[in-house]
């Protein structure tokens, strides 16, 4: 039984759940896009702020959840990302779809899934969170009814996510067989009493890796990524790229650090192969890509691969580096998709790199922001991306995982090519055939403002990282 006093521990999750219900009811009374958007914004803000009212320390909420500094940090991160995506969705949806209110229910619900996942301490709560996140996402991805690509990507995601969930569940069942527990602490205890990892247990881990790797779009489970990014509407792609991956990564850290699964050499090898392949394949795939959303999809595969380097270091510094990098990645991806949304018009999105040709001469601010985002994703000094990579590299070199470190450096070099290609196009001569005379969706408020904010954050973390790092250092040791 949960006593009422424990409720304040899961305040952010409660707020978002309640908000979803209220939005649903309000639609039944009266449809009003402006109200729904504003209300969603407020509830994300409230969820982020309510974290302040959770006391310090690590608390279990039944055996399903554990609320600690790490979980709180990710809660704030996801709520902020949800806030930004909601802001960027308003004008976009107004321009492209008639009935928009349900979008916010789905957005709130899938955020709820992500929020519960980051505090999950049990396979049941993890699985339920994952499905709440995914099932809402199926609908979100196919939300634009007029868009055949949206429906196509919706079905693709649905089929693949369902298949990968089956693998995940099979893995969970095998782990359950070995340990007799579904909660992570029970699994850890069961393991330490039996000593050696049995074959069934690590086979289970392997299948859990399939499910998690799919959600995080790691090679070889990455094939869906570009199609879904390209087919879904840009705000939803931003959501898939950030919130859904970040939440799963948080659980990955919890699962493998608290059960000590990474101590098995073969599991570690599998992850190393996955990380190396993700870093290289992601960047290779992006090289000649002309569609900016697919390009970002491939780049996100590479970035998640970079993240795995810190994950595999299994040190406090590695944890800090991974968390820092994830924040930087969130900021960069949100700003990148924000720019795509800004440049879209009623007829469609600004999908191709050529749509950005000569942007600097038309909208210098926007071009400056997008340039900074690209440079940050590429890891150029004075942007946040550089320091993120630097921390990843130090985390890797400290424990001497040289293969991963070298691949990280090499693939960053490959990545430079396509990021700079986008930058070069923006500074190239003016677009000769001004094909689309439609005005862009983006407005100074709120698009321009929120993009500027993200842009400043990228620079701020790039020149003054300790502001963020000090917070991360407080929470990073909690999990182990």
């Amino acid at each position: 039984m949960i006593s009422l006093t424990g409720l304040n521990l899961i305040l952010p999750q409660l707020i978002i759940a309640l908000a979803a219900i209220i939005v649903m009811l309000s639609i039944a009374v009266k449809r009003c896009h402006r109200f729904t958007n504003l209300f969603t914004l407020l509830s994300f803000a409230a969820a982020a702020i309510s974290v302040l009212y959770i006391p310090r320390g690590s608390f279990g909420v039944s055996s399903l959840f554990v609320v600690d500094g790490f979980g709180k940090f990710f809660t704030v991160l996801i709520a902020c990302a949800g806030f930004v995506i909601t802001l960027m969705s308003y004008h976009y949806l107004n321009a492209r779809e008639k009935r928009n209110e349900e979008y916010y229910i789905l957005l709130l619900l899938s955020s709820l899934g992500a929020l519960t996942m980051v505090i999950s301490n049990h396979f049941v709560s993890f699985f339920l969170s994952l499905e709440v996140l995914s099932v809402s996402l199926y609908a979100l991805i196919g939300y634009l009814k007029e868009e055949p690509a949206g429906i196509e990507s919706g079905i693709k995601y649905l089929v693949l996510a369902a298949v990968s969930s089956s693998f995940l569940l099979f893995g969970i069942a095998l782990i359950y067989m070995q340990t007799g527990h579904l909660d992570l602490s029970g699994i850890a205890a069961g393991l330490s009493s039996s000593g050696e990892f049995s074959g069934v247990f690590i086979a289970g881990l392997a299948m859990v890796i399939v499910g998690i790797g799919f959600k995080m779009a790691l090679v070889p489970f990455h094939l869906w990524t570009p199609d879904i990014y390209a087919g879904a509407s840009a705000p939803v792609s931003a959501f898939v790229a950030t919130v859904s991956k970040g939440a799963v990564f948080a659980f990955l850290l919890r699962l493998f650090y608290s059960t000590g699964g990474l101590e098995n050499k073969n599991v570690w090898t599998v992850f190393t192969i996955i990380a190396v392949a993700s870093m290289l394949f992601g960047n290779w795939l992006a090289l000649r890509q002309q569609n900016i959303k697919r390009l970002l999809a491939y780049s996100s595969i590479g970035h998640l691969g970079y993240l795995m380097v810190a994950f595999l270091a299994i040190t406090d510094r590695g944890m800090q580096a991974a968390t820092f990098y994830l924040v930087v990645y969130f900021t960069g991806m949100l700003a990148a998709f924000g720019t795509v949304i800004y440049m879209s018009n009623k007829k469609g999105e600004a999908l191709y790199i050529d749509d950005y040709r000569g942007l600097f001469w038309k909208k210098p601010w926007l071009a400056a922001i997008f340039t900074t985002v690209m440079l940050s994703l590429a890891g150029i000094p004075l942007t946040a991306g550089f320091l993120g990579k630097l921390y990843l590299l130090t985390a890797g070199t400290e424990v001497g995982i040289w293969l991963l470190v070298i691949v990280l450096v090499v693939s960053s070099g490959i990545g430079l090519f396509y990021y700079l290609r986008v930058v070069a196009v923006m500074f190239a001569g003016k677009n000769e055939n001004e094909a689309s005379s439609e005005p862009v969706i983006g407005k100074i408020f709120p698009h321009g403002l929120v993009l500027t904010l993200l842009f400043l954050l990228l620079l701020w973390f790039g020149v003054y990282p300790s502001s963020l790092l000090e917070i991360i250092q407080q929470i990073a040791s909690v999990i182990r």
Binding site: Y138, E152, V163, F170, M177, G231
Partner: protein, 109 residues
Amino acid sequence: MPVNYYIFLSLALFAIGIVGVLIRRNAITFFMCIEIMLNAVNLLLVAFSKMHHAKQAATLATAGIDGQIFVFFIMVVAAAEVSVGLAIIVMLFRNVHSVNVNFLNRLKH
């Protein structure tokens, strides 16, 4: 019955499911195959639950019960998944008048 039998049975079911997804083209059949895979897991969980219960019933009356509870959650989630999936398939059918997944090839490379 030894628990191994259940493992082999559910492995077989799981394999049937995955092969089905791989070789069939009809989206509805896809869902049936996925359902088979999920039910293979359900079977496995129930079997393990029984196994753990039999082992520890003397010390803990509720031992192994969480496996069975998990099964209910999986069933519910599968139902939800299918309902959303069918809705999307209806939309697909409206667009291309077919539920053949091979028509889903607009997005590539």
